[in-house]
Symmetry: C2
Subunit: 358 residues, 2 copies
């Protein structure tokens, strides 16, 4: 695939959650169709996609039919089984490419990759056995967090270790999975850079947003973040370094801890990112459209910020706030149409433009 | 239907063109599904709708199945056959209600309605016979335009009469349809007010946009329009008068000619309107979401304008400009995914924010 996708072409998206839903809407704005591949019978993206395949990631026939129907394949989550990728890669280009998945699917590989690039991560140590864990505590210190190397998100697959007595419980909680022991670092706040690289190698980064978490889940992102002009530039250059090293095509989220000694990379996500949702009401081209443009081989759009925005997630019974939010000024609601507001479930988000006036 | 539609409810939309497509996307942002009813086998809205019925407007079984599947019915065009409305009205609420369609489906009824409200229209005369036409010429004068009372849009079903020799040709072009003879008026420019009325009777009007037509089709809308503060207020009050008189629920487009003696109403459209597309990149709540909020019984959203915007339609081979537009700053593309760029066909539009910086 070398030329830009034409009107009416189809982008295959692995995963049909809210990110797939918003990617589908962005594709539609550009005159492109989407075909969602999703395990669950019902999913948020199905409402707005041209086509949906409901099948498991080990269903070869479904994967082949999907791969043949689409012009390019992208994804809304990083934990795509290798089996599926092996089949799909011969049927349509996968963007971002598999190297980005390989790096981000495994916390250890990711940290090694970032360190090799000359970037800083929190001190860490690989943990396979209980002895490794004791060594890690000795080397990195306490308190710290033990995380499975694979499949964790939104605080799942993580255990905090405050003192040596917690070690056994934390180790047992990993259930034999390979894990990484991460030291705490002294940071003032967390920001994230949402950056895109086009098929032509062009890079466009959004103004960094400042993140606030609650119970291990992103609660709020504010732009502008508390950063100096120099820090802003550093953050963007750092993201560009990662994108270029991977010859990445698409949007990536890069979470950074701000410390007096510079940025420490928390993690990278090879996809559109919750902390980039503010771009829907702050930029001519939002992160979803930017990702679609990149994977479709189109030029990147204008990601200049034109408003100050506070994005807040609506999680579980935060949905009770919706009636009040519907009539609040400068406020844009983005709901995912999920039927049941379970605790911890991302149901939607709201963007409040704090300086929107022309 | 008295309470606001819940998450996951379904809005039925009659018509699956670009307006239905953008209404579907707006509904999705609010967590609502759409079911499109459309005669053509393929339509722009199908890509982003939860469900599509492809059937004619005289297919009773299809209409009944559609009506039973949805929680409320709205439409993207005014020329809905009475037969279909008769069936649908018993199955789900129709919003805006049928009185708005009755008024806007017939140019004569519309002019009578507006005149009765104390608003000004261009001088007109009903034409059923050739004698009526000669009388109209005598009473209203020339040049003038002869229009069928029903089914005309984008310059179709219209004939300009410059002098008496054109009369017979113009009359024959109406092919026996009832027509209205409209005198020319001396106006400086045309503006349109996109206004919404909620189910609770609340009214919200967008800042008027200034329209420029080419070959009888809208080419460009610019906000702000060239209007004084007083004119702005007058335009909004005028629109509110129309909405209240009809006890209207939804978004309406009101086209006004600006003259030294005040506004002359050109026409009203009981639906989202091409001249309101700029709201997608100038307001927290765009006209599509405002319409969905109204018909879903939600409170109206914030329609305050936060940027100056120029909206330009992409018609037929204007699509050749897309590659260049994709990398133009402050520019948001909205393409409809139509496979073939036929002459005169609306393929998309572009919103250029001319003062977008925070």
């Amino acid at each position: 695939m070398t030329s830009p996708l034409a009107q009416g072409s189809t982008i295959g998206i692995l995963g049909g959650g809210q990110l797939g839903r918003m990617l589908s809407m962005a594709a539609a704005r550009l005159g492109l169709k989407t075909h969602i591949y999703e395990q669950s019978a019902q999913c948020p993206a199905a409402d707005v996609a041209h086509r949906v395949t409901s099948a498991a990631y080990d269903d070869e026939a479904a994967l082949r039919a999907f791969g043949r129907d689409v012009d390019v394949i992208t994804y809304e989550f990083e934990n795509i089984p290798t089996y599926a990728l092996d089949i799909l890669q011969d049927l349509a280009p996968i963007r971002p490419a598999r190297n980005a998945l390989a790096v981000s699917q495994d916390r250890l590989t990711e940290k090694q990759f970032l360190t090799d690039l000359g970037l800083r991560c929190a001190p860490y140590h690989a943990v396979g056995t209980f002895d490794d864990l004791l060594q890690a505590i000795d080397k990195v210190g306490l308190p710290a967090i033990l995380k499975t190397t694979r499949m964790g998100y939104d605080g799942k697959g993580q255990m905090r270790i405050a003192n040596i007595q917690d070690a056994q419980e934390a180790y047992d909680a990993m259930q034999g999975s390979m894990a990484v022991f991460e030291g705490f670092i002294d940071f003032s706040h967390e920001v994230s850079v949402i950056a895109a690289r086009g098929a032509d190698g062009a890079i466009s980064a959004y103004d960094p947003g400042e993140n606030l978490h609650k119970n291990g889940i992103l609660h709020q992102t504010t732009v502008p973040a508390r950063l100096s002009a120099n820090q802003r530039t550093d953050a963007v250059l750092l993201a560009a370094k990662i994108l270029n090293a991977l010859e990445y095509v698409g949007v990536m989220g890069v979470e950074l801890f701000v410390t007096p000694a510079g940025f420490i990379v928390n993690e990278i996500a090879p996809r559109v990112h919750n902390s980039g949702h503010w771009t829907q009401n702050g930029c001519a081209t939002d992160q979803f459209e930017q990702h679609i443009r990149a994977v479709a081989g189109w030029p990147l759009g204008d990601g200049q910020r034109y408003a100050d925005v506070v994005m807040e997630n609506l999680i579980g019974n935060d949905m009770d706030k919706v009636p009040q939010l519907t009539s609040q000024p400068n406020t844009a609601l983005h709901l995912y149409g999920k039927p049941e507001a379970r605790a911890g479930r991302k149901m939607g988000h709201v963007n409040v433009m704090t300086t929107p006036k022309a």
